[in-house]
Symmetry: C2
Subunit: 324 residues, 2 copies
Amino acid sequence: MPASSKRVTAADVARALGLSRATVGFVLNNTPGQTIPEKTRQRVLAEAERLGYRPNHAAQALRRGNTRLVMLLMPDWPVETSLAGFLDEVSFRLDQAGYTLVTYTRRAGDRARPLWETLHPDVVLGLGELDEVSVRSAKVSGAKVVLTQSIADSALTAAGARLQVRHLYERGHRRLAFALPEDRRLAELAATRCEAARRAAAELGLPPLDVRSLAAGDDTAARAVRQWRDAGITGVLAYNDFIAALAVGAAVRAGIGVPTSLAVIGHDDAPFGQAFVPALSSVRMGIGELARYVADLALHGLGHTGTAPAPLVPDFRIVHRESS
Amino acid sequence: MPASSKRVTAADVARALGLSRATVGFVLNNTPGQTIPEKTRQRVLAEAERLGYRPNHAAQALRRGNTRLVMLLMPDWPVETSLAGFLDEVSFRLDQAGYTLVTYTRRAGDRARPLWETLHPDVVLGLGELDEVSVRSAKVSGAKVVLTQSIADSALTAAGARLQVRHLYERGHRRLAFALPEDRRLAELAATRCEAARRAAAELGLPPLDVRSLAAGDDTAARAVRQWRDAGITGVLAYNDFIAALAVGAAVRAGIGVPTSLAVIGHDDAPFGQAFVPALSSVRMGIGELARYVADLALHGLGHTGTAPAPLVPDFRIVHRESS
DNA sequence: CTGAAAGCGCTTACAG
DNA sequence: CTGAAAGCGCTTACAG
């Protein structure tokens, strides 16, 4: 015999009111094409509230054939930007449309089955890039919409890098370098951003960027700052604030004045940047409209809106502190 | 008419093999007390594999009356310790027991319905502290086990603080201060840790700790380091590496040598600490056994193991760098 | 305007 | 050893 839970069901509400389960269902779902007298409607709503009725998601999903779950795949790499507000905005908008947001971080070596196999979300959204295997696996698991690159797409990524270049240019720097992370998981995004920076530099008539990878715990940063000094490079744009911190730290240790001899600007405006000495300049991304865009993209893919959401105009701002 | 999905069902497997759905179910679930000939077993398994059968989680949950979902509530505040390995370990262990891990971050002002109302997990685990409202709401939603304080519990928290005190003591510091974050969300955990530090100092016969809150963007850090200098305090243990960075940064700016005049040690071993100048000393927590402990706690609560898991012996290590 | 009923995919007690 | 069948809670076409 199937397990019966102690939770309140729609049948309980119907029984308490002497109505049929169908009527209760029509009210609870606001089913179109049904003419329920306002009085009955109110009675059902009140009783459901009183009994603490919560629809059984498993039963709804089974019956409807979809879960109304939207899964947002978080990148494996640390997201420095303030995600809290972003996630609240996305889930709020989806919630209003009857969908629920689930976030999930899949990592390279993970030994558990991917979460979409269990949860069967209708949509899988990639915050970063999704690999082919994941995309296929998510589709097999029933995801109707799989959006990759929705956020870390090249347009967004390019805008931040371009801003970094312009900032250094405006402050008089002409010979620039791009500092990359060594972390392989970041390689693709880093390459896209580096390319954007290259193009921005070329547009301004600057010589080609010097590109270098920095890592913590070895001498890559120390060697980089020395070579930059010897090559007459005075401005460095970093992939993120951690890489910027590595560059600034190495410069300070080598007696290279920051920002007098070497100006450095990071990306993401990570909190620790303000604690640094000198405080790190950075680029900050406005996350609110991005969230709206992502939610709309998902809903559009599910057929909730006729027209695709307007392409996003990224909102980047320079946060000027001491390192540039 | 209910929506029928295009996914392969157990009935498809049965039909392809000319068996009943029951037999297929017995094989797929390894139902005890059934004697299925090995040959049939193999045929079912092979056909399920060939057709790409994936059980419908909604149907299983509906029928069984439980979702076999374990929800891990992540703290709202930034978790600096390397979470990736921890989460992999927890989900791997739960996966092996037939459970699926879902992480969720609930924030104070969130406008979407809490995720447990939709997903109906069997267990809700708190990484940080769970408030009363959440606990009740999770229970109403059908969670059988709600564990609060499973990780940030006082024993664990105390061990880290004690280690910080001992470290400074061993390096000759006798007058110590504790640097707290101003962030209210961290207040409870910070208070617990501070209390542990106080006790550790008392045990070593040290004078009472000077306790101060630091924040970014104001002069709290600058004032604190001056007052510490004037009071003859030479060692500071910080709530985390960010607060440590604030203290070190303020000291450097005030011309107070670190670690010669003021030694500072952080907590969590955040990556940016190595990029800092001077590089931040910290305390690092071994996350592997903690993960095992958390998974076992959840499974024990669900009745999977007879005895409660042995109390966790926290594995903390000093990471000695330049700031102490 | 309201009710009886089917069926989503699964698990499992029961009958052969 | 295997099958027919019930029922988890829901949604919704259909009949009154």
